[in-house]
Subunit: 225 residues, 2 copies
């Protein structure tokens, strides 16, 4: 149990809570604990978001697809993490992606009404939750400010950063290369040249059907260079 | 005063509050009222967000620029509205754009600590604020789902929708055409063809230095067609 407290205290939502208070809260709050075997599905895209789900052990993979189903972004997250906290409220309260357990995974969840009570009784949860949702909302204007007529490498970097998460590992963009170079409006050779440059910099790797992000932080440097 | 209540009740933040309760709250809460003459600047990009600012009369224009200063998006908002509610919390708590009074404009503002108290005492403000910030945060994944390798018209529609607001009027994208067609990686003729199609549909108008959005709703239809 104590290990779990340490873990939860690493999450942005629990930032600023002291350990003793967290213990009290977890005892008196209706948290549910679930286990998922490796490979099983935790969440289906479109499922209604009725709970806030904390990843407390193991590893998950999210899979996001565009509307025509031709481009997929997959990302992995280690414990501790929260699944789609910005889809518990707002116009869309269903999950935007599928979520799978990459290994045996533990989830702690709290239902929406209980979480609302928690935010009302503990200011710190309220502030943390507003910081989380506001943070995510600032991303689209941020991506505008990085908008550039620069080279293909920069454009690709901006595009990947816009749709992926800072804390994600093993980020993969799965699609035919043609989908991407058609979107970016460049010739295949120009697109491949940019991919090769990024590969030489050890920032990405790629093959015919996917791009793997090896170093998302370095990608940020490319996008603002 | 009563007219102002009616006005505020139209805002998403006040949704679900009844009029009598709103009257009580406004009397006991420290709201400040400010007037700005036509043409004056209310907010400078980079100003620290210390208050939640409600537009209660008149009209404002926001001006957003990308990092190299070559592309500008300007949008107008009528009262009632809230200015940048998703920059009061989060990693960035400074205004992302300049804000000007288009005509004589009235602002009602509340400081951050007082607003936090309000959310703690009135669940409905808390829920409305979480809905607002979550809504805005859902935009970047939404734009991914609309991501398409489709024609120039669709791409331009997606791009404009991503960086502008549903309730905005008189949306203008001010930049050299070259900046945009270089970004989209198309020839000038292909870009002009798309602009002309959208113009013929009465969705936009354009000249050498700007694109004006005449019908943002119709643009949404183009982006998903």
């Amino acid at each position: 149990m104590y290990d779990m407290y340490e873990l939860l205290l690493q999450l942005p939502l629990f930032q600023g809570i002291n350990r003793a208070r967290l213990g009290e809260l977890i005892e008196k709050t209706k948290f549910h604990f679930l286990k998922y075997p490796s490979g099983s599905q935790l969440v289906k895209k479109g499922d209604h978001c009725t709970h806030l789900k904390f990843l407390i052990s193991g590893k998950i993979r999210t899979e996001l697809s565009n509307m025509n189903g031709k481009i997929h972004i997959s990302e992995e997250f280690d414990a501790p993490n929260v699944i789609a906290p910005n889809f518990l409220f707002g116009a869309v309260t269903s999950y935007p992606y599928d979520v799978f357990a990459v290994e045996e995974t533990g989830i702690m969840q709290i239902d929406k009404p209980t979480f609302i009570n928690l935010m009302q009784s503990e200011e710190i949860f309220l502030l943390n939750m507003l910081n989380i949702t506001s943070n995510k909302s600032q991303k689209s204007l941020e991506s505008f400010s990085f908008f550039t007529s620069g080279d293909m490498k920069e454009k690709l970097a901006c595009w990947i950063l816009n749709f992926t998460n800072r804390k994600a590992n093993n980020i993969k963009i799965v699609c035919k290369q043609k989908e991407l170079y058609t979107f970016f409006g460049v010739q295949r050779s120009v697109f491949l040249y940019a991919l090769n440059e990024l590969k030489d910099m050890k920032i990405i790797d790629y093959d015919m059907r996917q791009i793997s992000v090896l170093d998302r932080y370095a990608l940020q440097q490319v996008s603002v260079s």
